[in-house]
Symmetry: C2
Subunit: 344 residues, 2 copies
């Protein structure tokens, strides 16, 4: 187990980036500069940049899943690029929806070009993600399998939307249960990681839905673990490493794991005080400090870390059940461990 | 030629609606009630409604194009539903981007549920559009042809985004030429109508890209005519019939045809006065009245109607060039005439 990103997360960066750039190759309108900016390829003035394009977690899961069942990287790259583009589409729209001004240590698309254009940029990334996937046809994947994966990608995107709906809806609700929270992150985060593993195993392993379905569950549990850990970092992470303002989730009264846990599992005094604070029309920095104390009292951080480890354990257990003894399976284990041990 | 909708626009409403509802059949999350509301199927409280679901122009173009080359309606319905869903996805996002509070005589999705949720609703309609198209596989369309159309749909959506980008960007620009305007509406409106005709002719006529390409041009010219006429209605239309506030386009300083024409083709006095008015930080109703006078003086309405008729003529000419003597081709001619003669 390690807190720094495992080397395997760097392994596929170059080929995935090349594949993603292929999808953009013929696009000449200045419109696409905003998408290229979001992806870290250019700065806000359009000059070439080497910006942070994210961890590449979803493409890595896809490519490792392919290798784990004996597939190659090359053939699966269009699917890996599609997953990264779907993830980035959702981030551009998320930032608009959440009023987030910075992402990956840079101003968000909407904060530079306004919300109407940012919505449009997200929409174009959504189309480009589909076009990336459909390039599988040019990689000798039979068309019926391409259609199967295209349906699955859009089913996954609907799960993303459903999760996003709940996430936003929860901000208006006085109380959310842990089960409701899990349903929300299952859509918002776990569905795309499940899809990533499904794609890789399906394409790498001779188009077998049963094997791919098993990988999908590994990805799903990893996704649940990843999101719960993300929630821990959202409250206790240092903004210097996460790129997000400290305790952002508290100010925006997100029903992240610590808030849900403390509001439903703590003693009556802590619950009452939290309810009182969250009932205010506006929260200030003093409220954040009080909420942090109440989270501590409730043991919310420990509970969250334990829950993240629980789902990571389910993910590793699912992988172990396949009895795969190869470097890619070991890489997947490293990624799963990283998801819960990381500090950013 | 007729100003009231031709009967052919009603012909496919029922089968297209049934196909669209099939796409929603398995979706149980309350989230989808917002999309159903937008489509006119339920009211804002979720009770069954018989709301205005739009003209169904794109699905009609698709199905008539199929019939015109000897195809059936039944087999092409998934493509027709996909086109309507793409159109509706773009409307939900448009309304957010343009701050429009009403659409089809009802409050817009964002004005009821807020912009963050409306962005999410649009995203889900975008995925559902793709899923609708991929249902062609279940209608015995070979998978390689389904992939071909899926690529074309996303290429079309990119054209939509490019047009939308220009439309919004033009609002900040002091002057826009007629050529730039045409480039904008070619993406924003014409591309999806071109795609509709392509889909119909491709699926109905034995998967021949050349024939479908010819239909695509017919749809494109129709789209240009339709948008220019829409711009006329945006300035001089009665809000009781269009469902939009009068002279909305002027207040939001949209570079619609009349504004572009008057700003570039009128005499120097009219151009100078228009530039002066548009240079103000805010426009009021008095400015709208002055702009309307200047448009009159420039002959902008006549020029717009003439341009719309020009593109409608190109569209009808393209259709005539195919020498098709059947009811569907006659129906297409009616739709093209309606596009420029309509008063809503």
């Amino acid at each position: 187990m390690t807190a720094s990103p495992p080397a395997v997360l760097d392994r596929f960066t170059a080929p995935v980036q090349i594949e993603m750039r292929q999808v953009f190759a013929a696009l000449v309108s200045p419109f696409y500069q905003m998408a290229r900016y979001h992806l870290g390829w250019v700065d806000q003035h359009g000059a070439t940049a080497a910006g942070d394009g994210g961890k590449g977690l979803r493409s890595t899961l896809c490519l490792l899943s392919s290798e784990a069942v004996g597939g190659t990287v090359e053939r699966v790259l269009p699917a890996a690029a599609a997953l990264e583009l779907v993830h980035n589409f959702s981030l551009v729209h998320d930032d608009v929806q959440d009023d987030s001004v910075s992402r990956r240590h840079r101003p968000t698309v909407w904060s530079l070009w306004g919300k109407p254009q940012a919505i449009n940029v997200g929409d174009s990334l959504f189309s480009l993600a589909r076009m990336a996937l459909l390039r599988l046809s040019a990689h000798a994947v039979p068309a019926d399998h391409v259609v199967h994966l295209a349906v699955r990608l859009d089913e996954t995107c609907l799960r993303l939307c459903e999760g996003q709906y709940l996430d936003m809806d929860f901000q208006q609700r006085p109380e959310v249960t842990l089960d409701q929270y899990l349903e929300m992150i299952d859509g918002k985060t776990a569905a795309l990681m499940a899809c990533a593993c499904y794609f890789g195993a399906f394409l790498g392993g001779g188009y077998e839905p049963a094997v791919a379905g098993h990988f999908s569950e590994i990805g799903r549990n990893l996704g649940l673990a990843f999101q719960i850990k993300d929630d821990v970092l959202g409250v206790w992470g240092a903004s210097g490493t996460t790129g997000k303002p400290v305790a952002d989730d508290i100010l925006s009264r997100k029903k992240a794991f610590p808030a849900v846990y403390a509001s439903t599992k703590a003693g009556p005094r802590v619950r009452a005080r939290l309810a009182e604070i969250y009932a205010q029309p506006e929260l200030c920095q003093q409220d954040v400090a009080r909420v942090l104390e109440l989270f501590d009292e409730a043991g919310a951080r420990e509970a969250a870390e334990a829950a993240a480890r629980h789902y990571a354990g389910m993910s590793i257990g699912g992988l172990a059940g396949l009895g795969l003894e190869n470097a890619a399976a070991a890489g997947l284990r490293d990624v799963i461990s990283f998801a819960v041990e990381r500090e950013r």
